[in-house]
């Protein structure tokens, strides 16, 4: 490799300002995970409020809680954590020595951190944190209806974090398109890298709409006349959802990419339908840029039928991706490691979220179900029961590469089963409640509704999820303390990140194996098998 390294500086500075994409990624992942825990605590408070039929917190506090829960999970956890995993593994998977624009990647980390702190500092102000939901819809978020400085801090926090995510997406896309090792053609990039390419396209082309919407909102708050009058509120929503729907897929693609890698590795076979999967991903991301107004069906201010058409058409690429995942299991030799269990959890549970999404894409059904707990259940099945399971699968899968040590399998299985049980207890009853007419974002409901027992069940499920996350943290601590060395390649991986030490050196690779397909290490293994069969020296 034609690379040189400058002498490193003192440790504390190096930790905070390292430009090694692997360090930036680990820091970003850690920051995002802290926000995940913080957002989870908010959810637990909300759940206790609903189980107790009101009375735990005031209405205003409850409004702050769900606003900050949603904002934290989306702006500060799921989106950045997906990009952070990409920041670590995309350069490795394409055989690059470095991410494109390492300083830019570092800048993204700082923007995320400062954005998150800004948003959360709203809790310290006298008016409390923002309380206008993660959408920040105008006019509820304007200076008359949300005069608190928490709202102001929310706007700046979201702008900062979002800008950081765009910087990362730029780095990753450039790395995948222009920093690939010799022999690594576009069609030989692994599914995870391709899923990140699709993600980055969405981030780069959709996220500017959010920044524009928030700048306009800020101007409306301070000078007025920008979003007011006529259909200003509708315009804000158009801009917001132009970001707000693609971001849903930004919270999905990286994780289905992780699941694809895991399924291929633990089936011991080549990913089935690699090319079809990539085509589906690209079709998916293209379509997902043009489904946004299905969030606005009940406004009567968007072209409902057109957006119903595009939203329903998502069946095709999503179905192909599922076929390819299942096809990879076909005639594979399966190993049921924790990473694989989480991948299976993703496949089953995301399907629930996906199918109910098709239901909501039909306006006659959406007229009844929109804004209800049915929608809440739907997107928690996609983002939590789907993406978060994919993420934990990815963490168990790649933890040995990042740290050099294996996570404990038995604790991992406990984590998985607790989380699977908790997730379904917490979110499945929401479908029932939503269909019965329980709307979202209410701090209380009438006792006559008979919704309390299901709400108690959900809260118990949320508690189990919290326990499962504790089991995971315990696993990390135990595994790092009494170390079980992982070696270069503990799982018989197929992609380039397994062809270097764990953790990889600063310049990633000392030498690269020949790249003749999207699974270069599997090629080597199969060549060895063939040689053994024919009796020739390997």
């Amino acid at each position: 490799m034609s690379t040189l390294a400058l002498p490193a500086r003192a440790a504390p500075l190096r930790t905070l300002a390292s430009t090694d994409h692997k360090r930036v990624a680990v820091h970003a992942g850690a920051v995002a995970f802290l926000f995940f825990i913080a957002g989870g605590v908010l959810a637990l408070i909300m759940r206790s409020q609903l189980a107790a039929d009101g009375g735990v917190v005031s209405q205003d506090s409850y409004n702050q809680l769900f606003t900050m829960h949603g904002s934290t999970m989306i702006y500060l956890f799921v989106v950045p954590v997906g990009l952070a995993v990409g920041l670590y593994f995309v350069p490795l998977q394409v055989g690059a020595a470095e991410v494109a624009g390492p300083r830019v990647a570092l800048a993204g980390l700082w923007l995320l951190l400062l954005g998150g702190i800004t948003m959360w500092s709203g809790f310290l102000t006298s008016g409390g944190a923002a309380a206008a939901s993660w959408w920040g819809f105008d006019p509820l978020s304007d200076s008359i209806h949300s005069p608190s400085s928490g709202m102001e801090l929310w706007i700046f926090g979201v702008i900062l974090a979002t800008a950081g995510q765009m910087l990362w997406a730029g780095c990753l896309l450039t790395t995948a398109l222009r920093r690939r090792a010799p022999g690594m053609t576009l069609m030989r990039m692994p599914v995870f890298t391709w899923s990140m390419v699709a993600t980055c396209l969405l981030v780069l082309f959709a996220f500017p709409a959010l920044i524009l919407a928030l700048v306009l909102l800020w101007a409306q708050r301070h000078f007025g006349g920008v979003l007011s009058g006529g259909l200003g509120a509708v315009d804000y929503q158009q801009l917001f959802w132009f970001y707000g729907h693609p971001v849903v897929y930004v919270m999905f693609f990286p994780f289905i990419g992780m699941v694809g890698e895991i399924v291929a590795t633990f089936s011991g076979r080549r990913f089935f339908g690699h090319h079809a999967f990539i085509l589906a991903l690209l079709a998916f991301s293209g379509l997902s840029m043009t489904v946004w107004a299905h969030h606005m069906f009940t406004m009567g201010q968007a072209t409902n039928k057109y957006f119903a058409l595009t939203s329903t058409a998502l069946i095709v690429p999503a179905g192909i991706e599922y076929l390819d995942l299942l096809g990879t299991l076909w005639r594979g030799k399966l190993r049921f490691n924790v990473a694989f269990l989480f991948a299976l959890g993703f496949i089953v549970q995301f399907l629930v979220g996906g199918l109910t999404g098709i239901v909501l894409a039909s306006p006659p059904l959406d007229y009844g179900l929109n804004m209800s707990y049915f929608v809440v259940a739907h997107f928690h099945y996609t983002i939590f029961a789907g993406s978060a399971f994919g993420l934990f699968g990815g963490l168990y899968y790649w933890f040995p590469k990042v740290t050099g040590v294996l996570l404990r399998e038995r604790l991992g299985k406990l984590h998985f089963w607790l989380m699977a049980l908790g997730t379904n207890l917490a979110f499945f009853p929401m479908f029932v409640l939503g269909a019965e007419g329980m709307t979202r974002r209410i701090a209380d409901y009438p006792t006559s509704s008979g919704w309390q027992s299901l709400n108690e069940l959900e809260t118990a499920g949320a508690g189990l999820i919290a326990l499962s996350v504790l089991a995971f943290l315990l696993n990390v601590v135990v595994s790092l303390r009494s170390r079980q060395p992982a070696g270069e390649d503990p799982w018989q991986g197929q992609t380039l990140e397994w062809a270097t030490s764990s953790p990889p050196p600063r310049h990633n690779f000392d030498a690269l194996p020949p790249i003749r397909s999207y699974a270069p290490l599997l090629d080597l293994g199969q060549a060895a098998e063939d040689a053994a069969e024919t009796g020739a020296p390997a």
Binding site: Q59, D60, N63, A131, F137, P139, L140, H145, G230, L231, A233, V234, S267, G268, R269, R270, F272, G273, H274, T298, M299, G300, N304, K305, A308, T312, I315, V316, G319, I320, Y322, L323, L326, L329, W330, G332, K333, L334, I347, V348, L351, I358, V359, S362, P363, P364, L365, Y367, G368, L369, N370, M371, E436, G437, T439, R441, I442, Y445, P446, Q526
Partner: protein, 215 residues
């Protein structure tokens, strides 16, 4: 005829069985694959694609999507339409955190931030047009029993037609989060026979306001 209740039930009757069927099929396929994969002794398969099969499958998916879209479009068209001559037109004003229903003769029903709203009466089985506005932020006019909602915007009149076939009380609530007392922003509609409605309306003519009781 904007029969939202039956429209919802019709589409649900097609979408839900398909969704449940697909889920069951995938689950069964997954179970078979997992059992076979766990028992496998031979080396894993080396096939990497089956383009024809994948192409055919994509076509099948497109057909399913097309079927769903046809069902949706057919059902939606009458829902989005408003009648040229509705039997009755009611003005609805939503505000933080109240509902006011005004009838053509000036009769008014107001429900202010309450769990127990006073009902606004409508004649059962007739086409009624609602003309809704918000006085401040966006609110949502939701009648769960009819499976229908429409958002009310500030400075813009939203019109929609509804039919209440079954006589009785229909609960309603604000579906779009609108600030501090969003949870308590309820209203109610009671469908009664046309003759009873006519009597009620004349009794409540302009001036006589029935206010919803606070809890």
């Amino acid at each position: 005829m904007p029969d939202t209740l039956h429209a919802y039930e019709h589409v649900r009757g097609i979408y839900f069985p398909i969704a449940i069927g697909v889920f069951a099929f995938v689950l069964a396929a997954l179970a078979i694959l997992l059992v076979r994969g766990a028992r496998r002794r031979a080396l894993p398969s080396r096939t990497s694609a089956a383009p024809r099969f994948e192409g055919g499958y994509a076509l099948l998916l497109a057909c399913v999507a097309a079927l769903l879209i046809v069902v949706t479009f057919r059902t939606e068209t009458p829902l989005d339409r408003t009648a040229a001559h509705p039997a009755l037109r009611i003005d609805v004003i939503a505000a933080q955190w109240s509902w006011v229903f005004t009838y053509p003769n000036g009769a008014r029903i107001a429900d202010v931030s309450t769990w127990h709203p006073a009902p606004a009466l409508v004649p059962a089985g007739e086409e009624i047009e609602f003309a809704g506005r918000s006085r401040d932020v966006i609110h949502g006019f939701l009648v769960p029993q009819l499976h229908f909602q429409r958002q009310l915007l500030p400075g813009y009149e939203t019109r929609f037609d509804l039919r209440f076939d079954e006589p009785g009380r229909y609960g309603g609530e604000c579906s779009v989060f609108c600030g501090d007392q969003h949870s308590q922003m309820h209203f109610a509609i009671e469908a009664v026979s046309p003759s009873r409605f006519a009597r009620w309306l004349s009794e409540h003519a302009a001036g006589a306001t029935a206010a919803g009781g606070a809890t």
